[in-house]
């Protein structure tokens, strides 16, 4: 539907992106200021560390998801991949694999899942929504079969402590966002393949006519998303100290929402790395703030919904006014 595309206006894309990013950032800062004034505990080191930890996993998922959405697709499986890979790594550790091997194998499985999605879309001609919905369902099932519906404990202390610890005063989990975010930024905005993600999302046929490897680009996008998700699976396993296939339920919607709040267009060809990060941390801040303010958790849902509308509305406004 072209309802949205008509908003694409005349200003150069880069400048706009930065501006948009800035104002979302301003929004996040505003939220932080308000919370700082209205609670005693918000601006404590401890709470900021909590906040950074709480937003990190969705942030990484949102980056992966953004690659896919830029091509005009969607990846519903990321939550399931997180749960599934938490089981995989727990199983591997429980069966005596060294940590490095367990991590590599888990990420490798992420690669396979992503390639399978690419295969389903490119070769079998399935809509992204369907193939990733199918893996969502199946992966949860396989994970449950592996654990027989229960959980697998992880007894490896260095592994489980990783997500709790800090480096240079900043939680390791947040460092992981940096670790993923910087290469992702370079990849998306400064590499040929990043450019192709946009071109495929903008006009796949034109890209093909220009000699762009459209199929390869799609494989790539879904693989990146799945790898990000399996990386989050590792982080989650480290954080909760178990492998459990039913974890991260609904995280796909949170990741997509973060991405869209961050300015990614579900019609493809519009997106950035900083946007989804800001989106994820805005959502985390809303939750963290509501908890600190002791807002009833039901009101919390109502407010979250309203805030999503307000935030995205103001961004739309600014976009149009440019």
């Amino acid at each position: 539907m072209s309802l949205e595309t008509k908003d694409v206006g005349p200003t150069p894309k880069r400048r706009f992106n930065v501006l948009f990013g800035l104002t979302l950032f301003a929004l996040l800062l505003a939220l932080w200021l308000v919370l700082g004034v209205s609670t005693d505990s918000f601006w404590t080191g401890n709470n900021i560390a909590n906040l950074l930890r709480q937003g990190s996993m969705i942030a990484i998922l949102a980056i992966g998801q953004t690659f896919v959405i830029i091509t005009g697709g969607i990846d519903l499986s990321v939550g399931a991949i997180v749960g599934f890979t938490s089981v995989v790594v727990a199983w591997l550790l429980a069966h005596g694999f060294p940590v490095w091997a367990a991590i590599l194998i888990t990420l490798g499985i992420g690669v396979c899942i992503g390639l399978f999605h690419g295969f389903g879309i490119v070769r079998l001609g399935l809509p992204p929504f369907i193939i990733t919905l199918a893996t969502l369902t199946s992966l949860r099932g396989i994970g449950l079969l592996i654990t027989n519906g229960a959980t697998i404990s992880i007894d490896n202390d260095p592994f489980t402590e990783f997500s709790r610890n800090d480096f240079a005063g900043i939680p390791n989990l947040f460092w992981m966002v940096v670790l993923v975010g910087i290469p992702a930024y370079i990849f998306l905005h400064h590499s040929r393949w990043g450019r192709y993600l946009f071109s495929v999302g903008s006009n796949a046929e034109a890209s093909r006519l220009s000699g762009v490897n459209v199929k390869g680009t799609i494989y790539l996008a879904y693989t990146l998303s799945a790898v990000c998700a399996s990386f989050v699976g590792l982080l989650l396993a480290s954080r909760i100290g178990i492998g459990n296939a039913t974890q991260a339920e609904g995280w796909e919607l949170q990741a997509i929402a973060s991405s869209v709040i961050g300015g990614t267009s579900l019609f493809g060809a519009v997106g950035s790395i900083h946007g989804p990060l800001l989106g994820a941390f805005i959502l985390a801040t809303i939750n963290n703030g509501a908890n600190l303010l002791n807002v009833n958790s039901f009101w919390q849902r109502v407010i979250t919904g309203v805030l999503i509308i307000v935030i995205v509305y103001f961004d739309q406004l600014r976009r149009r006014q440019r």
Binding site: S41, T44, N46, N47, N50, R53, Q54, M57, L144, T147, G149, A150, T151, S153, T160, R164, L236, R239, I240, G241, I242, N244, A245, T246, Q247, A248, E249, N287, N288, N291, L292, N294, N296, S297, F298, R301
Partner: protein, 297 residues
């Protein structure tokens, strides 16, 4: 109130936990303590509960009351939290030695009681505790539900070898799914005599299926926990029995104990708040009524 004692439940969207919170709220009022009511939005959301615990700790409360959503996973975070604040556990256990006090239901025991109740109901109808029975669990990966299933199966194996568990179903937390599974079980197994549904929402669905199929004479269902609807099912015979805990007391005593602990008073390390079988026969006793109709405000 200057003293703050947050209570963290597993899932604020279920009736059971609302009773726990009501008890805690009452205690807060009685004792002049501020009681933030916290909890994740689903019992399976372990990461969510860890985050909530982290947030609660950074608010520097006097103590924290928590019902760990997963035995192993909450162990370390509770140890971590206990470094700065006293922790009182309720309802379920965690892999941690840092609890100052524990007021829990033994869920494995709850499962055993359910098996006893089911066997008794079948025996009453068919003369002997024998035949086919089924188990429906609401969600996979939820610690307390797994423990109930474990207790139920152990007890069947140990005491009722003639009761054959022919289906062990896991749903997706939706009453409708419980309903569909139950109707399909009834269709596929004409000789089915009993079902254990190990939590509230599955009992709702199963009860409805029994009512739809008018099967209450043939098939005995034991549920876990209670609300108005289930009490009605119990009184009209749709359900054969309910295993009922004392959530109100867990909430109330949880806060009370936490306050005492925060003041350095000595508290009891372990309290079993009990899981009781309630049937149509004993449902009008005073204690049963108290458990079935907790006063919420």
């Amino acid at each position: 109130a200057d003293v703050t004692i947050p209570i963290i439940v597993k899932d604020t969207t279920s009736f059971y936990w609302q009773i726990v919170l009501a008890g805690a709220r009452k205690a807060g009022k009685d004792l002049g303590v501020k009681v933030p009511e916290l909890g994740a939005q689903a019992e399976s959301d372990i990461n969510g509960q860890i985050s909530i615990l982290e947030n609660a700790v950074s608010g520097k409360p006097a103590a924290i009351v928590i019902s760990p959503t997963e035995f192993k996973a909450l162990g370390k975070p509770i140890d971590e939290a206990a470094k700065s604040v006293k922790i009182i556990g309720i309802d379920s256990a965690a892999d941690s030695k840092s609890f100052t006090s524990f007021l829990t239901t033994d869920n494995v025991q709850g499962g055993r009681v359910a098996a006893d109740g089911l066997a008794a109901a079948i025996k009453e109808k068919y003369g002997k505790a024998e035949g086919e029975v089924a188990l429906i669990t609401a969600l996979p990966g939820v610690g307390s539900l797994d423990q109930r299933a474990k207790g139920f199966k152990e007890q069947l194996a140990a005491k009722y070898p003639d009761l054959k568990l022919i289906a062990d179903k896991v749903a997706d937390g939706q009453a409708t799914t419980g309903l569909n599974i139950t109707t399909d079980l009834i269709t596929a197994n004409p000789n089915l005599r009993g079902i254990f549904t190990s939590n509230l929402i599955m009992a709702q669905g199963a009860g409805q299926a029994i009512a739809e199929n008018k099967a209450q004479d043939k098939i005995k269902v034991i549920g876990f926990d209670s609300d108005e609807k289930l009490v009605k099912f119990l009184s009209n015979g749709t359900l054969a029995g309910l295993i009922v805990q004392d959530p109100y007391r867990m909430g109330y005593d949880g806060i009370k104990t936490a306050l005492a602990a925060s003041k350095g008073e000595k508290t009891e390390a372990n309290v079993d708040t009990g899981a009781n079988l309630i049937t149509k026969a004993n449902m009008n006793e005073a204690r049963a009524q108290e458990l079935l109709n907790p006063k919420l405000d």
